[in-house]
């Protein structure tokens, strides 16, 4: 005998999310690099070689004016609201780096 069941999911943020307007060019822009680990290493502040390489290429090959580094306060949490506000004020776009 058939019966009725109720769906256990709910609408999520993902379902209603819209992408921010895309940049028309990278030339002359300021790009924020969000470092997922934010841990200090002997070579500097950056954990991931991938982001370092991206920074070099963005500037050398795409005319990016400047990259700003935003190490997260904790690997396990997003940027704090004050840091996020600062990022939005200073950068035209952000690359959120997370490598495992």
């Amino acid at each position: 005998m058939s019966f009725t069941v109720l769906e256990p999911t709910v609408p999520t943020k993902e379902a209603g999310r819209r992408l921010a307007p895309r940049l028309d060019t990278l030339a002359g822009k300021t790009i924020a690099l969000v470092d997922g680990w934010g841990r200090h290493t002997a070579e500097g502040d950056h954990m991931y070689p991938l982001l370092d390489d991206l920074q070099r290429r963005l500037i050398a090959e795409h005319g990016v004016k400047e990259c700003l580094w935003y190490p997260k306060e904790s690997i396990a949490k997003g940027l704090s609201q004050p840091r996020l506000t600062e990022l939005i004020a200073q950068a035209d776009a952000a690359i959120v780096g997370e490598a495992i």
Partner: protein, 363 residues
């Protein structure tokens, strides 16, 4: 709300039978692989009614998908877990624990660490609802443990979308992700309960949720002095989460060990102090084992970067596993056969900290 008159926000589906329902649940990603009970309108309605709250009452948004945990949505998942009405207040209290910012559910659901939220049940509801507290307490054999643990899992799965390989990036995971719930053996314990230790009375129903790894069982036989020596030497190992990030840890102490230590004159607080002061990482052993090098000491273990422990550099220095005694939680549970203790390491200082809430009766 009269029975059978509820209107639901959730989409309804018609299925042919139990197995057709389970096929649908699997295809749509509504279950983590285990069979689930059908959330029929009458069962969901009964669970909602037991809360005394409106179906659209919001409990909060569940990370990482940030779906809204309404009473209705939680009740549907609790129905799939096999919950019955009088268990609903515990489901809600458990969910409220993990929604506290200090728990950092977003991180717990997404980390590569194999931690899972463990629900710990204290108070009269253990016996009233039939939670297992004695032999095999962490290993099944109780409908109540299974239903509450599964309800938490399915809420985090369906409303939070903590699914492996999508946002749950746990490298290994652990079996407790399916269902992780334990109840205190208050009757056989000589010590205060976890709930009492956290400021509640023994007469209150309380749930505590702590994100932790799978239980690591340790056999501690012999005299109390020998038990304590074995414990102190066994747990401060260099691969444990605490070595890298401190945080919190939980001991599930078998009643026989708790009694032996109590008769030896040790209270729960004494046990906690002993672990804090004696189960330590040895600077000398780290150097001798080639674990600690001068050039990378700032990234090797938590004490090297956290004041005041970062001044410890002498061979005789010993670093505690966690930053304070209060970061050591103790639950007495299990049967009285033999001398067993389980260590459940937490997720370090990233989150998953133990949060307790009183289980409120329906209004």
């Amino acid at each position: 709300m009269s029975p059978g008159t509820a209107e639901f926000r959730a989409t309804a589906h018609e299925v042919e039978d139990y197995w057709a329902w389970n096929e649908l649940a699997w295809e749509r990603g509504w279950t983590d692989g285990l069979p689930v009970a059908p959330p029929t309108p009458d069962r969901v309605e009964a669970l909602i009614a037991a809360t005394g709250l409106a179906p659209d009452h919001p409990l909060g948004k569940v990370a990482p998908a940030w779906g809204e945990a309404t009473i209705e949505a939680v009740a549907i998942n609790a129905a799939m877990a096999g919950c019955w009405p009088s268990l609903m207040p515990a489901v809600i209290a458990s969910l409220q624990c993990v929604l506290e910012p200090e728990f950092n559910l977003n991180g717990v659901q997404g980390t590569t660490n194999p931690c899972a939220p463990l629900v710990i049940v204290s108070g009269p509801m253990r016996t009233r609802e039939g939670f297992r507290t004695d032999t095999g307490a962490l290993g099944g054999g109780s409908r109540a443990n299974a239903a509450l643990g599964r309800a938490m899992r399915l809420v985090l799965w369906n409303i939070g979308e903590g699914k492996p390989g999508v946002v749950d990036m746990a490298t290994l995971g652990h079996p407790g992700k399916w269902c992780y719930c334990v109840a205190e053996n208050e009757e056989d314990s000589p010590w205060q309960t976890l709930a009492e230790d956290r400021g509640f009375s023994r007469e209150e129903d309380v749930v505590t949720v702590f994100a932790c790894d799978a239980p690591h069982a340790m056999f501690l036989s012999g005299t109390p002095e020998r038990m304590l020596k074995v414990l102190a030497q066994s747990i401060p190992r260099w691969s444990i989460n605490m070595f890298y990030t401190a945080g919190q840890m939980l001991f599930v102490v078998g009643p026989r060990v708790a009694r032996a230590l109590s008769e030896y004159g040790m209270s729960l607080q004494d046990f906690r102090t002993f672990v804090f002061e004696r189960a330590r990482f040895s600077q000398r052993e780290m150097v001798e084992a080639d674990i600690l090098h001068e050039e990378d000491e700032t990234t090797t273990y938590w004490g090297a970067v956290s004041a005041p422990w970062n001044t410890m550099r002498r061979p005789e220095d010993r670093l505690p596993m966690v930053m304070s005694r209060e970061d050591i939680h103790v639950v007495v549970s299990g049967g009285t056969g033999q001398w067993w203790v389980a260590l459940c390491p937490g997720w370090g200082s990233y989150g998953g900290y133990a949060i307790s809430r009183r289980v409120e009766e329906a209004a």
